[in-house]
């Protein structure tokens, strides 16, 4: 039970980190003349132009240097937290977490078009993992404390505890075990209470008394959801494609963010709406008349491109806030079109919010969380049901066309396929190395049949593995086949035996592959060879099955075990 209390206090710590992070970003934006307020207060046009150009560029330069201290030179993101939890393998390294957090702070502070919630989720998760290590807890507890940190960070940053709880279950844990619910909920509540006391920040969006949409408008919200899925797909693929493109740039990786910063600053001189997290842009997109139709389209495209540029070229930050902005701009564009066709101007906000949800829910792979964020931030049941209409089409369509979420697509590209659920992910991530046994009979191909039979009988095994004098694996013979041969053929040595085709395994194969190979084998074990076919040992069928049962049991205990 003690770790429950730890989970709760972790909620408090994650919330404090989240509050500190959010305030530090706002402070930096004002100080570095990135926020409109900072620019307005500066009162010096030349200074503002210089800041718009130089701050993102120099910020990028610093971010590039920070990333040199990270494994594989890239910042850690919520995808890493998801992978750690889903494979039950990972502990989140504290140094990489802290460095990624710092680099996100610099990125956001310098006005990069990235989000702040991703870094907060990762920081919360890293804190959770750190606590588990300090307390010497097991994998299952590790996963739940990671979820606690994530829930508290979301609850604190959005002032939305329910969304925090559901996000932790929906995106990170991917199960709704009762065992995890209580600590996650407690952490989220502590985070929320602390944040409301400390973070004197207005809601992300705040809508009072929205009108009531006409019944036929719900059909439009549904269509808007479908189109939103396409925008979400374009956004995700732009981010990924820019990442691929970056690999071909004739520039050291550590300078990539500076290049992105310079291009962003240059464009922002022309369209300032794309700079930073885009809170003002998001707000304006919810106000009818703030943007013209053409302007909405232009800002939408530029914001999408700017975010892909910043994230693809190595700025650290999340994908959620820019998706919120892009989605809202898209919804506003639809609302403007409907208004031009004679639809109600009073329900403009519904289109903006539906667009926001239709784009962000597929990107996060979290329709419930996104709906709850809308509900907790607006307190409007009408808006939430309209948003529900748009996600019913947006998420399935996007999942069909692109994948469950940007995180899952990123992980799949790194070789971790989460599309078939946790158990497969766990088996895929478990390596065979630990299961290799040397308790096997190895014989030279020149061994006479009689000697081989006696050797097998003496060792109490039914199978022998043929290994030549250079240590190469040549095949496998069974005691039964040898006996048959001795009775009715002229073969005198093992080399004369007809070969029985049998698969071999690589020491780096996953448990998942081993399970698959077992389907083709009737016998005791499968030989394990390296890439030059040198014999390394065998993996017994029974030990593969035991490992499978062990992992399934651990998953079952984590998801269904009480207390």
């Amino acid at each position: 039970m003690a770790w429950y209390y730890w989970a709760v206090s972790l909620g408090g710590m994650a919330a404090l980190v989240a509050v500190g992070f959010v305030n530090a970003v706002l402070w930096l934006n004002d100080l570095l003349l990135i926020s409109p307020r900072g620019q307005m207060m500066a009162a010096n046009t030349t200074l503002v132009i210089l800041a718009t150009l130089l701050v993102p560029t120099l910020g990028g330069l610093l971010v590039g240097q920070l990333h040199r201290g990270l494994p594989r030179g890239r910042p850690h993101t919520p995808a890493d937290a998801i992978a750690a939890v889903q494979t039950r393998r990972g502990r989140l390294p504290a140094k990489a977490g802290a460095l990624s957090g710092l680099s996100s702070l610099v990125s956001l502070g310098a006005g990069a078009s990235v989000g702040q919630y991703g870094p907060l989720v990762h920081l919360g998760a890293t804190l959770g993992s750190l606590i588990t290590r300090l307390l010497h807890l097991g994998r299952s507890e590790d996963n739940i404390t990671i979820a606690c940190g994530v829930a508290a960070a979301i609850a604190a940053a959005f002032n939305a505890p329910l969304a925090g709880i559901v996000f932790a279950h929906e995106v990170v844990l991917r199960h709704y075990a009762l065992r995890a619910f209580a600590p996650v909920a407690a952490a989220a509540i502590v985070g929320y209470v602390l944040a409301t006391q400390l973070l004197d920040q207005g809601a992300l969006f705040h809508i009072t008394e929205p009108g009531v949409p006409q019944p036929w408008e719900f059909a439009l919200f549904l269509v808007l959801g479908g189109l939103g899925a396409l925008v979400a797909g374009a956004y995700m693929h732009a981010v990924l494609a820019m990442g691929q493109l970056a690999k071909r740039l004739p520039l050291p990786t550590s300078l990539h963010p500076a290049l992105a910063g310079a291009l962003l600053g240059l464009t922002a001189l022309w369209v300032p709406d794309i700079l930073g997290m885009g809170q003002e842009t998001l707000r304006f997109a919810t106000l009818p008349g703030a943007y013209g139709g053409g302007e909405l389209l232009m800002v939408l495209l530029l914001k999408l491109a700017a975010t892909a540029l910043c994230l693809g070229l190595g700025f650290a930050g999340g994908v959620f806030s820019p998706a919120l902005v892009i989605g809202t701009l898209f919804g506003a564009l639809m609302g403007t079109l409907v208004a031009e066709l004679g639809g109600g101007q009073e329900t403009f906000i519904f289109y903006a919010v539906c667009g926001m949800v239709a784009v962000t829910a597929p990107v996060l792979g979290a329709p419930l969380t996104t709906l709850l964020i809308v509900f907790e931030l607006t307190g409007s049941y009408a808006l939430t049901t309209a948003a529900l209409a748009s996600v019913t089409l947006a998420n399935p369509l996007a999942a069909q066309l692109f994948g469950r979420s940007l995180f899952d697509i990123q992980l799949a590209r790194r070789g971790l396929d989460l599309s078939a659920g946790r158990s497969r992910a766990v088996l895929q991530e478990t390596r065979l190395t630990d299961l290799i046994s040397h308790d096997a009979v190895t014989l030279a191909p020149a061994t006479p049949l009689d000697a081989a039979i006696s050797c097998l009988s003496a060792a109490g095994h039914g199978e022998a593995y043929l290994v030549d004098d250079r240590g190469r694996y040549q095949g496998c013979v069974t005691l039964a086949s040898l006996e048959t041969l001795r009775a009715g053929s002229e073969a005198t040595t093992l080399a004369d035996c007809p070969e029985t085709p049998r698969p071999v395994l690589d020491p780096h194969s996953s448990l998942w592959e081993a399970m698959h190979q077992l389907e083709k084998v009737t016998g005791e074990a499968i030989a394990v060879v390296d890439n030059e076919r040198r014999f390394l040992g065998v993996a017994y069928e029974s030990s593969i099955a035991r490992a499978f049962l062990h992992h399934s049991d651990a998953l079952r205990r984590e998801e269904h075990g009480a207390g």
């Binding site: 307005m40 207060m41 009162a43 920040q201 008394e209 003002e280 106000l287």
Partner: protein, 367 residues
């Protein structure tokens, strides 16, 4: 526990009594010239502050009045001929004037502690004590309407100021961006916390200007008495103005007007000493006197301005002449403050001139 909590306050109180403060001894000054805002406000100040000050310190007070702005002060300081000892200034102008070097810095111990010994720094509201100013009251710019103008329905939200279909008739608005821009954006349902962030963009300003331009028949006012007169004479049906003046018109002159508290723009009113003031020491004595809890409470018995210190807010009682409960009429009362906007004076201090120029370009050229 109790002793631990009270000891610092007791000590502070005793220290305050024991330490001779030079500012308390008035220097010989023939008279003190104070620049204030005229009208009902000046009357209230005369009764609650100026006359008692003369009685206590034997220094006659002369009063000049102005409509705000720094132009005259700037000129007077430049010519080294400042005719005022103390100025009653809005906090945003005080901040701007302080930054421009038009004001004397005030000693940090100038404000008196609360009657129970609580140090001034803890008793005054946050942001009330500046380098060059001490806030004394919190007033509000509000919208008032004629009760008889809209049979059947009354305005309840600030957005109703712009809704001439439901509430037809001319409006009177102050010829400044302050309050008008905030209300225009509030009418789009922008949350209060985001007003100044949005007004920092050209898009936000244009949106606000568009809303103001959509009003038919605006009468722009400059002097605080004008909106009351325009409402009284029936020239407009809704007008922005200072809550104190509207209160005086409602209570003392029984005019059929009502205050719409939603969207009220709260602002601090401060005392400052201009650079090169003729009697700076007497001016300091006056400021210490006028910002005591006792004098703030006395002022709130004449005019419904919220005192700028906690100890005084707790003691606000009834109107001196009519016996009305003044707590219901001060802007900081919880019921009235529900939809209040706190004026971002730091923002105005830095942006006033640019925003004003844009405001005039957008709205005044149409007249």
């Amino acid at each position: 526990m109790l002793a631990r909590r009270w000891t610092p306050r007791l000590l502070a109180g005793l220290l305050a009594l024991a330490t001779p403060i030079s500012a308390e001894v008035p220097n010989a000054a023939d008279s003190l010239t104070i620049l204030s805002w005229g009208g009902a406000y000046e009357q209230a100040q005369r009764r609650a502050l100026f006359t008692p000050f003369t009685d206590a310190h034997d220094v006659p007070v002369a009063v000049d009045s102005y409509n705000g702005g720094l132009k005259e002060l700037r000129q007077a300081v430049a010519e080294n001929d400042v005719p005022w000892d103390v100025i009653d200034m809005t906090r945003s102008e005080a901040m701007a004037a302080c930054e421009e070097g038009l004001l004397e810095a005030l000693p940090s111990e100038l404000a008196a502690p609360a009657p129970d010994g609580t140090p001034a720094s803890q008793d005054f509201f946050s942001g009330a004590l500046g380098r060059c100013f001490i806030s004394h009251s919190i007033f509000a710019t509000v919208v008032a309407y004629r009760r008889d103008a809209f049979p059947g329905e009354r305005p309840t939200r600030i957005a109703d100021l712009f809704d001439q279909q439901r509430f037809p008739g001319p409006r009177a608005l102050q010829r400044t961006p302050a309050a008008n821009l905030e209300w225009a954006l509030l009418s789009y349902q922008v949350p209060r916390e985001e007003l100044y962030r949005l007004l920092s963009t050209r898009r936000g300003l244009d949106l606000a200007f568009a809303r103001l331009q959509s009003i038919d028949n605006i009468k722009w006012w400059e002097s605080g008495d004008t909106p009351v007169r325009l409402l009284e004479e029936g020239e407009v049906v809704m007008a922005s103005g200072y809550n104190g003046r509207f209160f005086a018109a409602m209570v003392e002159r029984d005019l059929p007007i009502e205050i719409l508290w939603d969207g009220q723009l709260q602002e601090h009113e401060t005392w400052v000493i201009p650079r090169g003031a003729p009697n700076p020491e007497a001016a300091q004595t006056f400021i210490r006197f006028a910002t005591t809890s006792e004098r703030q409470v006395a002022l709130a018995r004449h005019i419904p301005y919220g005192p700028a210190r906690h100890s005084a807010s707790m003691q606000v009682t009834t109107h001196r002449d009519t016996g009305l409960d003044m707590r219901l009429h001060i802007p900081t009362h919880p019921i009235n403050a529900q939809g209040a906007v706190t004026k971002d004076e730091a923002w105005y201090a830095r942006t006033q001139e640019r925003v004003e120029a844009l405001f005039h370009e957008a709205l005044m050229t149409q007249e």
